[in-house]
Amino acid sequence: MATQAHSLSYAGCNFLRQRLVLSTLSGRPVKIRKIRARDDNPGLRDFEASFIRLLDKITNGSRIEINQTGTTLYYQPGLLYGGSVEHECNVLRSIGYYLESLLCLAPFMKHPLRIILRGVTNDQVDPSVDVLKATALPLLKQFGIDGESFELKVVRRGMPPGGGGEVLFSCPVRKVLKPVQLTDPGKIKRIRGIAYSVRVSPQMANRIVDSARNILNKFIPDIYIYTDHMKGVSSGKSPGFGLSLVAETTNGTFLSAELASNPQGQGAAVLPEDLGRNCAKLLLEEIYRGGCVDSTNQSLALLLMTLGQQDVSKVLLGPLSPYTIEFLRHLKSFFQIMFKIETKSCGEELKGGDKVLMTCVGIGFSNLSKTLK
C-alpha cells in the first residue's frame, strides 16, 4: 500500500478515527488541519494521541507528522503488520474507543493480531468491551472472519476515572471477505446480559438484574442476565457498576444496549434500580429501531461490505446514526464507493421504525500484506 495516491485533506477534530482507519486501509495519506484551533486548549487530546500511537504500533512504516501545537496532523499509512502488541489506552476514553477501530483493521493484518489493551473497560461514552464482544464479533463472523483464535476477553475490569482494566483481543487474518445478504432480522428469541459491579457491594448487580427483568419479563421468557462481580486486582482502580443487554434474533442478529454508573466524584449517585430499568428501556428502543446490525456496529458492517469481494452485499439497517452517515461520505471519498439506499417503511408484518436497505458492490479488496503459505 505504498502507492503514492494524492492525499485527502480535512479540517476539524471530528471523525478522526474514521479518517485514520480508512486512510490506513485505502493507503491514501490524510492531512487534518485546524484540530481544535480555536479552543482554549488547542490541538489533539491525549486520548487521540494515544490512538495515533496505537496505529503506529500495529503498522509498519507509517509516517506521522504533528505540528507544534498539535492542530495539524499528517498521516501517511504504512503496512498493517499486526503481531503481539500491548497498549496503554488513555483513561479519558474507554477501550471500546480503540477497539472499534481495531475491529476494522484486524482482519487485514500481515500477522494475526493479538493485543492487550489496558485502561477503562466500561464508561458512559463508548461502547463497552462487553457489548462489542456480544455484537461486533458475531457480525465479523458473518463476513467469514472466524476461527479458534478469534477472541475478546475482559481480563480485568476498570471503571473511570481510575481505569486499571485489561482486555485481550486476538483476531485471525483473512485474504478476502465474504459478501453478505442480511435482509431479514427475524424475531427476538432470547435476551442475555451482564450486570457488573466493581469495588461496590456485590448486591448492586442483583438489584440491577431485578429491575431490568421487571420490564423485560413481560415480553419474552428466555432472559438470563449474568452478574459479574470482580474482586481484588481484577476490579481496577475505581468503583462503579453497570449493565449491558443483548437481544438475539432467530436469524442471528444481535441488538444491544448498555448503561454505566456515573464515574466516582462526577454527577449524582445513580440508583442501580433506575439504571436497570433505563437500560431495559434502551434495549426496547434499540429493538424498535431494529435492522440486521445494531446501531453501534452500522459503520463496521458497511466497511466490511465495501471491502468485500466484487459481489453484491445487502444489509438492512435501522435508522442511520449521524456517525454512520458521515462514515458513508468518507467511504465515498476514500474508496469511491456509493451505496444504494432504499427506505423500507414498516408494513403490517414488519413492526418498528423505518428501515434502510443498504446495497453495494464490494471493491474486491484483498489483503495484500497477508503472507501466502
Binding site: 442511520l320 456509493m338 434502510v356
Partner: protein, 146 residues
Amino acid sequence: LVQTNGLSNSLNLEKATLTTLDSGHCTAEEAFASEDETEESSCLSTEDEDSENEEVIRKKFPESFQVAGGQRLGSENLTDETSDVEDLLKEEEDYKEENNYSTETSGALKWKEDLSRKAAEAFLRQQQATPNLRKLIYGTVTEDNE
C-alpha cells in the same frame, strides 16, 4: 371502466334476486326485485337509508296485505296480526339487503373510479413523503449521475 361497472351491476342484480328467492316468506318476488333496483339507484348515502326504509315498507304494505287478505278471507283480526308479524320480518330482511346493496355497489363503484390516476397520485405522494436518503448523504452530485 364502464364495462366493469355494467358487469358488477348485473352481478349484483343476480345476487339480489338470489337473496330474495332464498327468503321463502316473500310472495311478490318480482315486485321486490324491481323496487330494490330503484332503491339502489336512489340511496347512495347510508344516512338516507332509515327514512327510505320506512317509505319502502309503506309501499310494500298494501301489496302484502292484499296477498295475505286473499289467502285468509275469513278472520280479519288474525290476518292483521299475521301481516304485522310478516311486516316486521320483512322490515328486517329489507334492511339487511339494502345494507349489502349500498356497501357493495356504491362502495365498489367509488373504489374503482380512476384507479390509474389514484395510483399515480399515491406514488407521487410516497415519493415526496420519503426523503431521498442518497441525496441527503452524498449531496446533490448524485442527482446528476442518476
